[in-house]
Amino acid sequence: MEKRMLMISVPLGKAERVVQLANQAGARGATILHTREALPEPKSFQLEPQRDLVLIVTRVERQKDIEESIRGGFEQAIKIYCVPVLDSVGMAHHGLQIND
């Protein structure tokens, strides 16, 4: 069974909303990294806005619903990147098994 990892970058503090929206669309968990973002053009003094990077591993069939749910829940454009997963373990309770 094909799986994907979604990487969603949102302003600091918005990760909880992303997880709620993803769970409504069928996601079963998420991991949040606190990151900082590079500004489009570096200034003489460095200001780097903090961002939450939300990682969600899901089945490919649910990917579109999750992306639409997240995008629909925010007014501003949300950056979502999708990484194909080679193999996984620990998702049996998500209805996924190794080498599905």
Partner: protein
């Protein structure tokens, strides 16, 4: 033409995730260089390197402070980004860090793979050392440790305060075969197939720099 005079490149849609582990303090510089080269997006987080050294272990400083940069780039600028990583970050020399490309779903040939793979192992805080011990037994060394937060049970509320469980993410690059075998061993030793014990996922890699094995230059 120097860096100040070079015009900002027009951003192209990303189809490669360029993940770089560099010395703490160099993450912002690398993000700026990659953005200047045309990366569509870049973020950076603190991490810890775990390359084992008997001397450092005895001194209790086995972990080294690192930064992990995720840059989303177009494949047309991949070669230039690797030149920056070699020239500015010295990743072509041992001990300066590692970087690798993971093709995104939007990559036209994301099935093109090397014999290397990357893994993300996400476990509860405190279990990261157990994972590193299991990997060490399998001969897999040199992972990067990142502190993270779980999102599965974020709705738990205690005294009006949301509870956000702390997690540890172990990030590692290794040959594909032992890494796939490692998933089964981790499942046996850490019961990952039970709910809320953690997950491990692997990704194909299309290019890498800075991988060294026992002091010898790798791929």
């Amino acid at each position: 033409m120097n860096k100040e005079q070079k015009p900002m490149t027009t951003k192209k849609p990303a189809d490669i995730l360029l993940a770089s582990v560099v010395t703490r303090g160099k993450g912002s510089q690398l993000m700026n260089l990659l953005k200047h080269e045309g990366a569509s997006y870049a973020v950076c987080t603190f991490a810890e390197g775990t390359i084992p050294s008997h001397i450092l272990n005895m001194l209790g400083i086995a972990k080294t402070k690192k930064e992990l940069v995720f840059a989303f780039i177009d494949q047309s600028i991949e070669a230039q980004c690797y030149q920056i990583l070699a020239k500015e970050m010295k990743l072509d020399h041992p001990g300066h860090g590692v970087a690798f490309s993971i093709p995104l779903c939007s990559h036209p040939n994301h099935q093109d793979e090397t014999d290397l793979a990357a893994t993300f192992i996400i476990v509860d805080e405190g279990k990261g050392e157990d994972v590193l011990d299991v990997l060490d037994e399998l001969g897999l060394r040199g992972g990067t440790l990142i502190n993270a937060f779980g999102g599965a049970s974020m709705t738990d509320i205690l005294f009006d305060m949301p509870i956000q469980p702390e997690k540890e993410v172990i990030f590692m690059v290794a040959p594909k075969e032992p890494l796939i075998d490692m998933l089964g061993v981790l499942d046996d030793k850490l019961d990952l197939s039970q709910p809320h014990q953690g997950i491990a996922v692997t990704f194909a890699i299309s290019r890498a720099i800075g991988l060294y094995s026992e002091g010898k230059k790798g791929k």
